[in-house]
Symmetry: D2
Subunit: 248 residues, 4 copies
């Protein structure tokens, strides 16, 4: 581990190319906006990677030098190669942190790590969302206060089909009458995973300083302490004398 956290920001980068409403908000892709704003928010060595690069920008050597990966995808989840998903999953289990953003709830990588469908309710109604801080003492909530208010956002609602979070940091209120577990932590293998729901592509959510602060906090929280294989299955010698052996 270096002192500076090596952060890779992954973005599907398709909506920004084909939808004018998105291009207007994120002209260089939302990875570029995240990179720009996270650079101001922490001691991070940042690179970006996108779906249409070779190996989706996630070559072995890139992942080997990544402490924390953020993931935003939506319309092309199915185009992410299974081999790359397996590679990212192994890196998480070996210690790399993973921050899954918004529609990334339905990404192959998040579903593979959760073991559930990760389905949810949704609605595009331009409504108000308020993310309540459930655990103010949690590292990811530092500096946030009682809640974050988003004046207009896509609704994500329960039931969200996830394993119960190890730590529930935020729960959202929606104007249209729904609630949502919007900030959730899990440990898997030696890695830490944070799901954070804000970030619909038609709103400039990743320009919001509080949202960026949460993501920066999460990057620091998810940075690995160890980096070792979690998937060996060693045959080991006994540490104590065994006296129970059956006569053969």
């Amino acid at each position: 581990m270096t002192d500076r956290i090596r952060l890779t920001i992954w973005n599907e980068f398709r909506h920004e190319k084909v939808h004018d409403s998105v291009k207007k908000v994120y002209p260089d892709g939302l990875h570029a906006t995240l990179a720009k704003n996270l650079a101001k928010a922490g001691q991070f060595d940042i690179r970006t990677a996108t779906l249409d690069e070779p190996e989706h920008g996630l070559a072995e050597k890139v992942l080997a030098k990544t402490d924390v990966l953020t993931w935003w995808g939506h319309m092309a989840h199915k185009e992410v190669g299974d081999e790359i998903v397996a590679r990212v999953k192994k890196r998480v289990l070996d210690g790399m942190g993973l921050i899954v953003l918004h529609s990334g709830h339905f990404s192959k990588i998040f579903r593979a790590l959760m073991g559930t469908s990760c389905a949810l309710k949704w609605r595009e109604a331009d409504e108000k969302e308020r993310l309540w801080t459930i655990e103010p003492g949690h590292p990811i909530a530092q500096g946030i206060g009682e809640y974050i208010e988003l004046p207009n956002h896509e609704m994500y609602g329960e039931r969200f089909d996830i394993p119960q979070p190890d730590e529930q940091v935020f729960i959202s209120w929606f104007e249209g009458g729904d609630i949502f577990r919007s900030g959730c932590c899990w440990r898997r293998g030696h890695g830490r995973i944070f799901y954070f729901s804000p970030g619909h592509e038609t709103y400039p959510i990743y320009e919001n300083p509080q949202i960026i602060r949460v993501i920066a906090n999460a990057v620091r929280w998810a940075a690995p302490l160890v980096n070792m294989p979690s998937d060996s299955c060693p045959n080991t010698k006994p540490l104590e004398t065994i006296r129970s052996k059956r006569k053969s």
Copy 2:
């Protein structure tokens, strides 16, 4: 749901055909022994299924009529078809209970539901194992007392790469100096999953009345209360009037 639990006992059924040491212990396959002993232990409608049957004995219509599935596999995990694994996983998320036994820790279905490698330490040294009851008030521990002692067993040891169990029912002591989380519960989707480590193929573990009692308890615990899709992702209407809409 009927009053009687519909239990399907799945067994790889390979060791029993090729290894004399196993054939001696389980002449008709360990599924047959499990079926015989579980029939005495509960109000179960039991069927069995094995790897070499068409669709591994797990056709859609079989799973649709299965409340709880037990899974034992070892040498042929890779031969289980991915399509069947996806089918079983969907059934678990929709509500079916799953009891994973012994070397089933490395089955595709268990790994897919856990999201981790499910690796562990192991040793065949014929040593004593003692399973301590950690939660005597848990349904799966009813009638067991302080511990179960197995005079000789394969050692499974930590670290076991699993998500922290929702409920830890048993932890094992091994004569050779290791410990193991040997009875673990999780909820995933609408389904319940229990991993139980006893059952190496060269010992008559599934003739042990206490082991059978735990499995029968687990079948009752895992029987579904609901049976509904967990993976829809519905677009929903607001329940309250939305006044925040942006002017376009």
Copy 3:
């Protein structure tokens, strides 16, 4: 354990005597309403107990014959004797179920079992509450559907100072902009505890069939499987020969 669950409904029974607005809703005390409606909802042997009875109606012999206790209190938490609280707590740890209702969040018994302050935000603004079902597969949620709507209720909001629930069954949406973890499960000792927030004394909440259904489900879920002391601290003999002893 008998087949029928022995249920004791405890009520502070003070508001109903001094506030006309409450007397109008619960003329015989809210324990009487709960008893009447729960009698229709399950196979329960019901008794009631109130603060002003000797030993608050919770003599040793009453508790010894109680499988599940429900608790409603508000204005007189401090008048509950510490000895009675210790007695109830011991019974819960030994296996008795406990259902804590509404303002019971600040009762001595709930705070003693949680170890936290159990503080929350609140507001009496006659607003709409919608309790979303987070775990439809949970026994306590059976028959409820997606949500319960209360047209007018007191607001209870986050942060609710509780240990993270072992199982989160309901989360509430409030018209005034708040959310609340309104249905929470914990295991403590051999006992099970459910906190359920509906039930402000000025609304006929305990006449609502869905609310009664949740409480009846919770009574069945919390009924003990074992009844044994959790607080002995036995000196035990080794089960294996100890060879490491230091020379003295």
Copy 4:
């Protein structure tokens, strides 16, 4: 928060005065040994406090300047004043870290925070203990490796009557045939709590560098991020207009 963690080491300091076997191991009290060794292990501003000091050395102003408190007690748990226990508990809920050592499992403060009896099995048989690292990626396990071996120790065994830990870092194997959840984390209010079982008073356990390393790691892990009251119960204004009000 200052950069250096302000650590208060609390010790009952009675055994060392009355038992020669303990005085020999900890001539100045085990708090002195812990202070000496923890001073080498981290950037800590250390003070000690003992039972027989006024207010047990835990005056309001001491606690106000304490980020993390370690607690060792055994023969005189009952002499700790209830008012001091309430004061320490409030500080933990407000953010202070608490490390409970060995026989501190039966201290008033630990029991008050857990809500359970905290009873366990025990045996003084001079036997070997091996603490297995269950979560190598956890901050408290850094630098420890697969296990810590104690050649001779008092046995603490299951069932340990605690709420299931939020994170299980160590589980112990004992030569005499028992296992024990020996390193356990919980969050309560804004504070973090770690229970660590090594440290019987007749063995020089707190001279063991690995044990000291775990405690130093735990102090860093438990250091508070926030320091704020967790027990206010504010009446709040609605954030949204309420339209559902009943006509009166």
